[in-house]
């Protein structure tokens, strides 16, 4: 093609040249004498004109030819490049769009096919935003604005688009700023990931469905056609409330009728706010009336499944779950807390009035009473008699009902130690108004009825659940009523533990800071001492500083011993041997004015614990005894006896009543303890000794050690008669070797195999690990990765487990809450809490109160876990060996 053009051009050029030459020849040879004449001769104008045109034509042609050649070369290069780009663009795995100002300028062939366009013209000019789904539009705008403003490529993101045909796709896009036809434009690559997203969604959906299916098995279901008010309930829904499906009307009014009137408005307003789209779903805990008349707690959940075109809800579906038991446990716990609070804050009869008030309010009872029974069976009311129950005509403080005046029904409750309800009228005195429709619950301690709680005069009958609640409250307040009977101050008992805890923490804190101070003094003094000339005065002075520092160090160690309660090296030991060792130590150090007498009932009494700590406790007590007799001398007796579980030791507190106990007594015939000092005996830093003789930590340390061994300290003293301190320690029942006891303590024996531990953590790996670690020691281990499931296990069979090991941080119900919920279900089931480093403070606050018997930090080693579990099972597994 270009060759043909060249030929044509050559011909034209040749013609042009011919015409020029012709003109020149004409003019020169045929008309004029000279070229000048020929050029300007009028007869030659025509020829001249012809020549000029020819010349111009030739020039134009030559110029045109040259230019055309250059252009053709550029064009070829572009074509080559274009072909390359086209190959790239079309071969690229991604779709490609170039757009500017929201208009499409270019799309790769593949992209055109994707959008269903035949040619670029079919797609060019289409607004980009018309393709993007509404929910992603704002985000995309923002991204594009950033790309334009910063000139940086926007990273990959996922958005939803709608194709011109209407179908929806998920794509992954990235956009960058380019120059297109001389102006900035946006180049967008995208990839269809609809399949991937669908798979992902399906996976989530199938998980949710599975969850729903699992839950649905025990949930009731409802489906509500909102405009008509028709409601479809299923069998479970009806059965949960005691009905057959046929018995209830398929209408929203059924629900409205059965919801507790006090909960109806709250539930309804939550439905309304879900209607308005303010909440993603509807969820509420309401009381619903069972066919029997009692109320159940129901977790009612639902979601709108259909709306009309204007957004009005058409259909809503949901489930009912019976959460009565959980609620009951929560309520019981809450009431117990309030009662404990009332007993701590209020004093005297006001405290019991408050407790009775709480019980009356919780049961919705207009009348009731709370009292203790003395040995003769007289009922002593610990509150002022309310007007309705006036025992005498006038109100008296703490009225007493003589045993023979106790109504027969109440006497029966006391006699049989069993709760009872009744409809017949009970009159406390002939004048007092009757108690009708009553529930009477005995308050029992160590199998003996110590008191009575009665609620009465309510319209509705008292349910089994309410009876159970009252019984658990009776159990809770039993020890407190008992201490009142014994004339002990409840404040002393309840606050002692807290006081020790707080002071322990304080002492620990002081010790820590003090050690830093000592460290600086000791360290720098040593450095200075090294620099001081040997034998110089400075060196000798610095040695004194060091000596004093060591004394300070010893003191701090004692404070730490008091405050530290970490697990020591625990083992089964023969406490008789420990006691003998202590006596050997004491004998040479006491003056001859003090006679030491020992009396051991047995040669073998096993206690599980730390021998050095027990030794320390004995020495502390002996030192106190010595100080009490220092002026006039006297007798220091150390004795040891074993008290069998069958005949409880008279001094044993509730938690030791069913245990075999070792009773270790240290008595002196010294000056005794005054009643006012008695109350402060265990306070750290409390001392009656002169300066230099005591730190006020001795008894605190004894108390700390004995409590850590699961025991208790009892002190009896009379001024000028002497003091007896009894340490009550639970007997260890591990396997014992038949051969004579070695002088050294026994090595901890393997755990018995019939212990079962429940291990709870929301992380599966940790559960697996914990199970493996514990099974190695021969324990049976059940696992749960959900605290609710764990709670279910305990509820199903409260006797099944001997220990619950649980993580603190878990979704929904955390470890502490789990422990609290377990407590009422299985009061003797101990809990070991696993904590992270930063949660420890939270966990600390839980220790020592309730059922949490230990804390282990993450990450824990196998040995640490085993030894913790081991020590709890040995120390706290009541009734088990």
């Amino acid at each position: 093609m270009s060759e043909n053009r060249q030929t044509v051009l050559t011909i034209i050029v040749a013609l042009g040249l011919f015409w020029v030459v012709d003109a020149v020849v004409d003019s020169v040879f045929f008309g004029a004498g000279s070229l000048q004449e020929a050029l300007f001769h009028p007869n030659h104008y025509e020829q001249y004109f012809r020549a000029l045109v020819s010349l111009l034509l030739v020039l134009a042609l030559v110029f045109g030819l040259t230019a055309r050649r250059g252009r053709s070369r550029t064009r070829e290069a572009i074509l080559r490049q274009e072909t390359q780009y086209r190959i790239l663009v079309e071969a690229a795995p991604d779709f490609i769009l170039i757009h500017r100002d929201n208009r499409i300028l270019f799309a790769s062939g593949k992209t055109l096919v994707f959008f269903g366009a035949d040619t670029l013209a079919g797609l060019a000019g289409t607004p980009v935003e018309s393709l993007i789904q509404t929910q992603d539009l704002a985000r995309v705008r923002e991204r594009l604005a950033t790309v334009i403003a910063r000139g940086e490529a926007a990273p990959l993101t996922e958005i939803g688009i709608t194709l011109p045909g209407g179908s929806e796709r998920d794509v992954e896009v990235s956009t960058t700023l380019i120059d297109f036809e001389g102006q900035p434009a946006l180049l967008t690559f995208f990839r269809d990931i609809s399949e991937k997203v669908r798979t992902r969604r399906d996976l989530v959906a199938s998980r949710e469905r599975l969850q729903l299916a699992l839950e649905a098995a025990r949930d009731g279901a409802w489906d509500w056609d909102i405009p008509s008010g028709r409601m479809v309930y299923n069998d479970t829904w009806a059965a949960m409330l005691g009905y057959q499906l046929e018995e209830i009307t398929s209408d929203i009014s059924t629900w409205q009728d059965l919801v507790h009137p006090d909960d109806r408005n709250r539930a309804w307003s939550l439905v309304q706010s879900h209607f308005r789209g303010e909440t993603p779903s509807y969820e509420v805990e309401v009381r619903m009336r069972h066919k029997t008349g009692q109320y159940l707690w129901i977790l009612d959940r639902g979601r709108i499944v259909e709306r009309d075109s204007s957004g009005r809800p058409l259909r809503m579906a949901g489930t009912h779950r019976n959460i009565t038991e959980r609620k009951a446990a929560e309520v019981a716990l809450e009431i117990r807390n309030r009662i404990a609070e009332a007993l701590l804050i209020e004093s005297g009869s006001r405290a019991y009035e408050e407790v009775l008030d709480i019980i009356l309010r919780e049961t919705g009872s207009p009348a009731g009473l709370l009292g203790t029974l003395n040995d003769k069976g007289d009922l002593q009311l610990w509150h002022r008699a309310p007007a309705t129950l006036a025992v005498n005509a006038c109100e008296v403080d703490r009225p007493v009902l003589p045993s023979d005046a106790l109504p027969a029904a109440l006497a029966q409750v006391v006699g049989e130690a069993r709760s009872q309800t009744g409809r017949e009228d009970l009159r406390l005195t002939p004048e007092s108004p009757p108690l009708s429709n009553w529930l009477a619950v005995p308050v029992t301690l160590r199998g003996q009825v110590k008191g009575l709680i009665v609620v009465a005069n309510r319209q509705a009958d008292y349910s089994g659940e309410e009876q159970a609640l009252l019984e658990s409250l009776a159990q809770f307040i039993a020890p407190i009523l008992q201490s009142h009977l014994a004339g002990e101050s409840k404040e002393l008992q309840l606050r002692q533990a807290q006081k020790m805890e707080a002071l322990g923490a304080l002492a620990g804190g002081i010790a820590h800071d003090f050690n830093n101070i000592l460290q600086a003094i000791m360290g720098f003094t040593t450095l200075a001492h090294e620099d001081a000339p040997e034998g110089s005065q400075i060196a000798s002075d610095l040695e004194r500083v060091l000596k004093a520092t060591h004394r300070g160090q010893n003191l701090v160690q004692r404070i730490l011993l008091f405050s530290r309660r970490e697990e020591q090296e625990r083992q089964a030991m023969n406490i008789v041997e420990v006691l003998k060792e202590a006596v050997d130590l004491l004998t040479p150090s006491l003056p001859s004015t003090i006679e030491i007498r020992t009396h051991f009932d047995t040669d073998l009494a096993l206690v599980y614990g730390d021998p050095s700590q027990i030794n320390q406790a004995i020495l502390n007590l002996a030192t106190n005894a010595y100080h009490a007799m220092e002026s006039g001398g006297g007798v220091l007796s150390l004795s040891l006896a074993v008290s069998a579980a069958g005949t409880p030791h008279p001094d044993a507190p509730g938690f030791l009543r069913n245990r075999d106990l070792v009773v270790l007594e240290v008595s002196d015939s010294g000056r005794g303890i005054s009643p006012e000092d008695m109350a402060r005996l265990f306070d750290p830093f409390f001392t009656t000794k002169e300066v230099g003789k005591g730190t006020g930590l001795g008894l605190s340390i004894v108390h700390g050690i004995v409590t850590a061994h699961g025991g208790d300290v009892v002190i009896r003293s009379e001024v000028d008669q002497g003091t007896t301190v009894k340490l009550l320690l639970p007997v260890h029942k591990g396997p014992v070797k038949a051969d004579p006891l070695p002088a050294k303590p026994l090595v901890a024996a393997e755990l018995d195999e019939d212990y079962t531990v429940l291990f709870v953590d929301d992380e599966e790996d940790i559960v697996t690990l914990g199970k493996a670690m514990l099974e190695k020691t021969g324990l049976t281990v059940a696992i749960a990765t959900d605290s609710q499931v764990a709670l279910e296990y305990v509820r199903e069979d409260p006797q099944r487990f001997d220990l619950v090991v649980t993580d603190l941080t878990m979704p929904r119900t955390n470890g502490l809450q789990l422990a609290e919920l377990i407590a009422p279900l299985a009061p003797n089931l101990p809990v070991l809490l696993i904590t992270g480093m930063t949660e420890e403070v939270v966990a600390m606050s839980a220790l020592g109160s309730g059922n949490i018997k230990g804390i282990i930090r993450k990450p824990f080693g196998s040995e640490a876990l085993q030894s913790k579990v081991d020590s709890i099972l040995r120390g706290g597994g009541e009734g088990r060996t």
Partner: protein, 125 residues
């Protein structure tokens, strides 16, 4: 010269360690809590870390665990003045977390130096 990172929140004790170790011929890098300690170690790896356990912001056990996760061969000496919260023996826990030696405060200068030498000599062929 061997470099030792000292993590300790108590200024006096930190200074003592700095003087003690410098005199013994070591280079000392100081940090006042675990967070600063980890940062210091990342910028300037050391042959040994001596760390207190009870510190504000980031306490010692966590620091040891985090450092050893990042630098598994790290050698650590833990020191502590006691257990503020009472229940856990932090020093024993530090051993479980990977501390090679532990010292209760107040420690003896020479005993600490001996244990530093002991740990650093393990590097010698």
């Amino acid at each position: 010269m061997k470099r030792i990172l000292v993590i300790e929140d108590d200024g006096e004790v930190r200074h003592l360690l700095q003087v003690l170790l410098t005199r013994a011929g070591y280079e000392v890098v100081e940090a006042e809590d675990g967070k600063a300690g980890i940062h210091a170690y990342r910028t300037q790896p050391c042959d040994l870390v001596i760390t207190d356990l009870i510190m504000p912001r980031k306490e010692g056990l966590e620091t040891i665990v985090d450092l050893r996760r990042e630098f598994p061969d790290l050698r650590v000496i833990a020191i502590s003045g006691g257990s503020r919260a009472g229940q856990v023996d932090y020093l024993n826990a530090a051993k479980l977390c990977g501390a090679s030696h532990i010292f209760r405060k107040p420690f003896d200068n020479q005993e600490l130096l001996a244990s530093v030498r002991d740990l650093l000599e393990q590097d010698q062929p």
